[in-house]
């Protein structure tokens, strides 16, 4: 593409201005402020569009006078001519007219795009426009930056892309810096948080061995406690057993002592011997007793003979008179009674005679009923007298006397009894009564005297008899001289006589026995001797001297037996095991109890400690288990991982985009680099007046070689030479692209560091270039007027 004509309607200072560019080389010459830059901006705007934005930093080149913003370009592309028209800065009207047909294209943009090819405003600026500003920039670059710039010149739009890449890289670095320790950058912050969380998770996971250990420890502790408890139980049982043994121990020792003693005393007298001996003793005692009895019997029978004889004599004398004597006694009592009665009668009568008469009358009825008549009393007295005679044994005289006395008494009594009886039925006058009583009193008095005489005689007789009886001195008979007791004496004598008679009869039998008894006695004596011998034998058999020793022994043995029973009672208090235990003990139980107690205390303390430990362990275990943060942490980790990835992705995208740009630039640069290098070397040679002959690329380092084979790095070049090198590269690149895209090179003069010689060389180079490609050169340097031909120069 070649620009053949420029027509400006209105753009900055330019109003209705036209320029033609007939040659391949066009030099726009003018002083500063002549409008060179405006013209350059116009060309750019016409090709790629005017600046769409307005700001104080962007020059929009509004026309200084009233004019239509815009203009026209005549373009020649591949031999075809077009008129490109743009009107208005905003809402620009674009028009493209094919000058061959003079027809405007209805949709001009694609046609224009195809004419411009891949060249954009920026690439145009970067490839084809070498501006003063750019050269100023090059001058400010460090050698390294210059190197980069040079190397990337091969890429289209290199500098702009480089800026983009730079921007992305800065954005990326705002997200993450590999070596930054502070977490100010978002990704650094995230990573720091992630790593903290991961550490936390690790920490929690480290609990696992602790947990297992804790579980195991708990199990062990439970086991230990169980073991200890079992041990305690055993010891407690043992202690109980020992306590029991301790209680039993004295008894046991006592028992053992007793056992030893018992073991020494073998009993001499066995049960049979004892029974036998006792039998013998019993027999002996019986025999001795019997023998003694027998001896006594034999003795009493013999010495009492004389006495018995005299007694028998006396008794024989008394016996025949006994009846008589009884009669006498009876008489005595009868007379005595008669006497008493008479005395009584006498007193009564005497009383009747005295003032006591009435009282006597009053007594009558009470005494009355006894007797009916005096005749009855008489009959009775006779009967009694006869009966007495007949019944009472003894002397007939006495009987008779007695009978008579008796008859008299009974009759008298009967009279006495009848008399008062009649009194109440036959009341008599008092003088009569006294007369009767006096008669009676005399009569009783007479009777009393007779009876008293009679009683005294009887008493004399009895006393004589009593003297005789007393002389007999019978043990069974009372010795007395009281006639009243005579009856008793007689009774006693009678008893003696009866006994004696019985004895006499018995004695008659006993005499026959005596011989037998003596024989029996001898027999018993022999038996006794026999038994005593046997006893001696028994004693001898058990080594005892005599019976006394035997009994002593027996007593001893009894004591033994008692002790044996005691022993057995003792033994009953032990179980066989206890006995075995006690027997097996070598130390006193008390010591064992103390020892066991100590062990027990120790074990209890140990148990307490273990249980406390277990409690602590359980609490710790629970603490480990109840740490509920793990799931949270795990999820937090997963989330942070995700966040890190997203953030890292954003970082990577920016970084990679920057890299991509750089790499793409490098790629496109490298593809053309050999050509560029060749051309650049040629131009650099020309521009430096053959001072430098070669540009060497060695591992992305640029080295420059002089004719004298000296090598220079970029850093060693002067600013001017650096500029020359840069321009050489730029032009070389544009030339290389010219094969592909035909586009004018627009050079804005900024060679302020070039001396006249260098400028001349530059001008020559431009002329050379214009042989292949349109060159538009803006300059204020007057040298152009001599270096270029007039048709080539457009004066502004």
């Amino acid at each position: 593409m070649k620009i053949e004509a420029i027509k400006i309607y209105g753009f900055g200072k330019w109003i209705n201005q036209e320029f033609t560019l007939p040659n391949a080389m066009t030099v726009f010459y003018g002083e500063n402020e002549a409008g060179k830059s405006t013209l350059m901006a116009f060309i750019n705007g016409m090709l790629f569009g005017f600046a769409s934005k307005k700001s104080k930093f962007i020059n929009t080149y509004e026309p200084k006078q009233q004019a239509i913003y815009g203009g026209e370009l005549i373009l020649n592309h591949h031999g075809k001519k077009y008129r490109l028209i743009r009107r208005h800065r905003t809402n620009t009207e674009l028009e493209l007219i094919d000058l061959a047909t003079n027809e405007a294209y209805p949709n001009p943009q694609p046609i224009l795009d195809s004419i411009l090819g891949p060249i954009t405003s920026e690439t145009f600026q970067q490839i084809y426009a070498i501006s003063a500003d750019e050269l100023a920039e090059v001058r400010s670059l460090t050698p390294n930056e210059l190197e980069q710039r040079l190397l990337k010149i091969g890429a289209v739009g290199a500098t702009g892309w480089l800026q983009v890449a730079d921007q992305f890289e800065k954005e990326a670095q705002a997200l993450f810096a590999a070596n930054s320790k502070n977490g100010k950058r978002p990704l650094n912050g995230l990573l720091a948080e992630y790593r903290r969380t991961a550490d936390n998770q690790m920490e929690i996971q480290r609990q696992l061995p602790t947990y297992f250990a804790s579980l195991e420890s708990l199990q062990t502790q439970h086991q230990a406690i169980a073991n200890l408890k079992a041990k305690l139980a055993t010891q407690q049982t043992k202690l109980a057993e020992l306590n029991e043994l301790a209680r039993l121990e004295p008894l046991y020792l006592q028992m053992r002592k007793l056992e030893q003693k018992q073991a020494k005393h073998e009993p001499k007298i066995n049960e049979d011997t004892k029974v036998r001996f006792e039998q013998l003793q019993f027999q002996k005692t019986n025999l001795i007793e019997e023998i003694t009895q027998l001896e006594q019997n034999l003795q009493t029978n013999n010495p009492g003979d004389a006495q018995t004889e005299s007694l028998a004599q006396h008794l024989k004398e008394i016996q025949p008179r006994l009846g008589l004597l009884f009669e006498l006694a009876a008489n005595y009592r009868a007379v005595q009674q008669q006497l008493a009665q008479l005395k009584n009668q006498y007193q009564i009568i005497a009383a009747q005679l005295g003032p006591n008469e009435p009282s006597m009358q009053r007594q009558r009825p009470e005494d009355g009923a006894a007797t009916n008549s005096s005749s009855k009393w008489t009959i009775g007295a006779v009967a009694v007298g006869i009966a007495s005679l007949l019944l009472i044994p003894g002397n007939i005289v006495v009987k008779l006397i007695g009978a008579v006395v008796a008859m008299v008494i009974i009759w008298a009594v009967g009279r006495q009894m009848q008399a008062p009886k009649m009194t109440p039925s036959q009341p008599m006058p008092a003088p009569t009564k006294t007369q009767v009583a006096q008669a009676q009193l005399i009569r009783v008095q007479e009777q009393l005297e007779v009876t008293q005489k009679q009683f005294a005689d009887l008493e004399q007789t009895i006393l004589a008899e009593q003297r005789k009886i007393n002389a007999l001195t019978l043990s069974q008979v009372e010795y007395t001289s009281d006639p009243a007791e005579f009856s008793n004496q007689l009774q006693q004598i009678n008893q003696v006589i009866n006994e004696f008679t019985a004895e006499q009869q018995a004695n008659a039998l006993g005499k026959a026995d005596q011989v037998y008894q003596e024989q029996y006695y001898k027999q018993r004596q022999q038996q006794l001797a026999q038994i005593q011998r046997e006893m001696q034998t028994v004693l001898a058999s058990i080594n005892l001297m005599d019976e006394a020793e035997f009994h002593l022994q027996l007593v001893k043995q009894n004591v033994d037996t008692q002790q044996n029973q005691e022993l057995m009672a003792m033994q009953k208090q032990f179980t066989p095991q206890q006995l075995e235990r006690l027997a097996g003990l070598t130390t006193p139980v008390a010591e064992l109890v103390t020892a066991t107690n100590m062990q027990l205390t120790q074990a209890t303390v140990q148990l307490e400690a273990l249980e406390q430990q277990l409690q602590t362990s359980q609490m710790q275990h629970l603490k480990v288990v109840s740490n509920g943060t793990i799931n949270e942490v795990e999820q937090q980790m997963a989330n942070l991982q995700h966040d890190v990835l997203i953030s890292l992705e954003n970082f990577m995208i920016k970084q990679l985009t920057a890299q991509w740009i750089n790499e793409a630039l490098k790629q496109s640069s490298q593809q053309r680099m050999p050509q560029i290098l060749a051309l650049a070397t040629k131009y650099f040679q020309e521009l430096t007046g053959e001072n430098f002959v070669a540009i060497k690329m060695e591992s992305n380092m640029i080295a420059l070689v002089t004719t004298t084979e000296e090598r220079y790095t970029l850093a060693e070049l002067s600013k001017g030479t650096s500029e020359q090198l840069y321009v050489a590269f730029r032009i070389a690149f544009a030339q290389v692209l010219a094969d592909m895209i035909e586009f004018p090179i627009i050079i804005d003069d900024g060679f302020v560091n070039f001396d006249a010689r260098r400028v001349k060389r530059m001008h020559r180079l431009m002329l050379d270039l214009s042989a292949n490609q349109q060159v538009i050169y803006f300059t204020s340097n007057t040298v152009v007027l001599t270096d270029f031909t007039a048709p080539q120069i457009v004066a502004l």
Binding site: P118, T120, E122, T123, A155, V156, G157, W161, V164, F168, F176, A178, N179, L191, Y194, A198, I204, Q205, Q207, L208, P209, T210, Y211, F212, L215, V625, N627, G628, I630, N631, E634, Q635, M637, A638, N639, Q641, H642, V644, L645, I646, L648, E649, N650, F651, M652, I653, K654, Q655, L656, T657, Q659, W660, I661, N662, E663, A664, L665, Q667, S668, Q671
Partner: protein, 402 residues
């Protein structure tokens, strides 16, 4: 006879790829593997099953913790109260020598490295053999199926097998399993539920709780019941957090506001279903290429945040959009400025694992980072987004918008 077959519970394993999930949901998510397992135990107790078989990967060695072990002990003790036995074998994730001696409880039978037969008589007096083995290392190259004995003199014989048909996880074939004449094969390892065969049933129950978008869909376990002389499985859902992929087609839209207004009613309709909590990945399908900026906002998460905020504002609590993908026609626009060859050649150099490493990953040595960026699709996505960025810069869209 009734028993429960589960596997791949991965207790305590966190959900991965969560994007800015709010705290209240996060709690539910954190507890999800535990909650699902408790649901299983509750179900076992309610059904008074005879036993539970857990074919491997009950937990992760990597995420093993005191809490997980303690949790298991507590849950197994609950089963013990009803004399429900647990047959436990370790898989490639929970193989662990330190755990081998761990006391899970008297009702728990842990299989050793050797194929072992365990016997049980059910409540109804049926005799059952349960045959299984535990992993002793992460990989098992040998066909462990060969070591399984033929069915014995029992009413039912069940095989527990953690493995896959192919690969270094105790490889097996269905034919080999059938040849053993077992009544049920309780498999584990594959997280996707699948019935490999029906006579007898050879089943992967899938994992109990999906933990990322790759484990989408309803998860649960199998209740296996004897019916006459066969064992019939029934799937019982137990997930309380479900992952789902929601695909929505969008017409041509110009602005972000249009896009949100278009998506929101559709998502609200989707949320109007009975579900505890659904974590979704939104897959947008567009017939037309979206403007660069919209695409960039879809990809950098801004749109997801806006959608979630809008859903919350409209009272939706059981749906969370975790992330979003976009399918649209390839915009094969050449990058302006430089020739395509240069861009392509540069891309080949820049978007390589080596360069990724040098550029950033070497400074973030965590393994999860490396494994993420090693994925080709991740690298492709990086390049795609880098290109979007360049285009945006070139077109100055950034400046024009607003």
């Amino acid at each position: 006879m009734k028993f429960i077959h589960t596997a791949d519970v991965h207790l305590g394993h966190p959900f991965t790829g969560l994007n800015n999930v709010p705290n209240n949901l996060m709690q539910q998510v954190e507890q999800a593997t535990f909650t699902s397992f408790i649901q299983l135990i509750d179900y076992a107790l309610a059904q008074t099953v005879d036993f539970i078989v857990i074919t491997g990967d009950l937990f992760d060695t990597q995420h093993q913790s005191v809490q997980v072990l303690d949790f298991l002990v507590v849950q197994f003790k609950r089963l013990a109260t009803q004399d429900i036995m647990v047959y436990l074998s370790f898989g490639n994730h929970d193989f662990n020598q330190t755990i081998a001696g761990f006391d899970f409880g008297t009702n728990v039978t842990l299989f050793s490295g050797d194929v072992t037969i365990k016997q049980q008589t059910t409540q109804q007096g049926e005799t059952v053999n349960i045959v299984g083995f535990s992993y002793q290392q992460q990989h098992i190259q040998t066909q462990v199926i060969d070591q399984f004995p033929m069915k014995g003199q029992v009413d039912f014989q069940i095989g527990m097998y953690h493995g896959a048909v192919d690969g270094p996880y105790a490889p097996f074939s269905i034919a080999e399993m059938r040849a053993k004449h077992y009544d049920y094969w309780a498999l584990g390892h594959i997280h996707k539920r699948q019935v490999l065969a029906e006579q007898p049933f050879i089943i992967y129950p899938g994992n109990l709780q999906g933990q990322n978008i790759k484990e989408a869909g309803v998860k649960g376990f199998y209740l296996v019941t004897s019916q006459s002389d066969t064992l019939i499985p029934e799937f019982i859902p137990s997930t309380n957090v479900t992952w789902e992929l929601v695909t929505l087609e969008i017409p041509m839209v110009a602005t972000q506001a249009d896009l949100l207004q278009l998506l929101l009613p559709k998502l609200q309709a989707f949320a109007n279903r009975p579900a505890a909590l659904v974590m979704t990945r939104l897959e947008l399908v567009s017939e037309f290429a979206l403007p660069h900026l919209l695409e960039l906002r879809l990809l950098d998460g801004a749109t997801v945040t806006q959608l979630n905020q809008a859903l919350r504002a409209s009272g939706v609590t059981n749906l969370w959009i975790n992330d979003l993908t976009l399918r649209q026609p390839e915009q094969n626009q050449a990058l302006a400025g430089l020739d395509n060859e240069a861009w392509a050649a540069a891309a080949k150099i820049v978007f390589t694992p080596e360069n990724l490493h040098v550029t950033g990953l070497k400074n973030v040595p965590e393994a999860f980072v490396t494994s993420y960026f090693d994925q080709p699709e991740v690298q492709a996505q990086l390049q795609h987004r880098a290109k979007l960025l360049l285009e945006l810069y070139l077109n100055e869209d950034f400046v024009d918008e607003d």
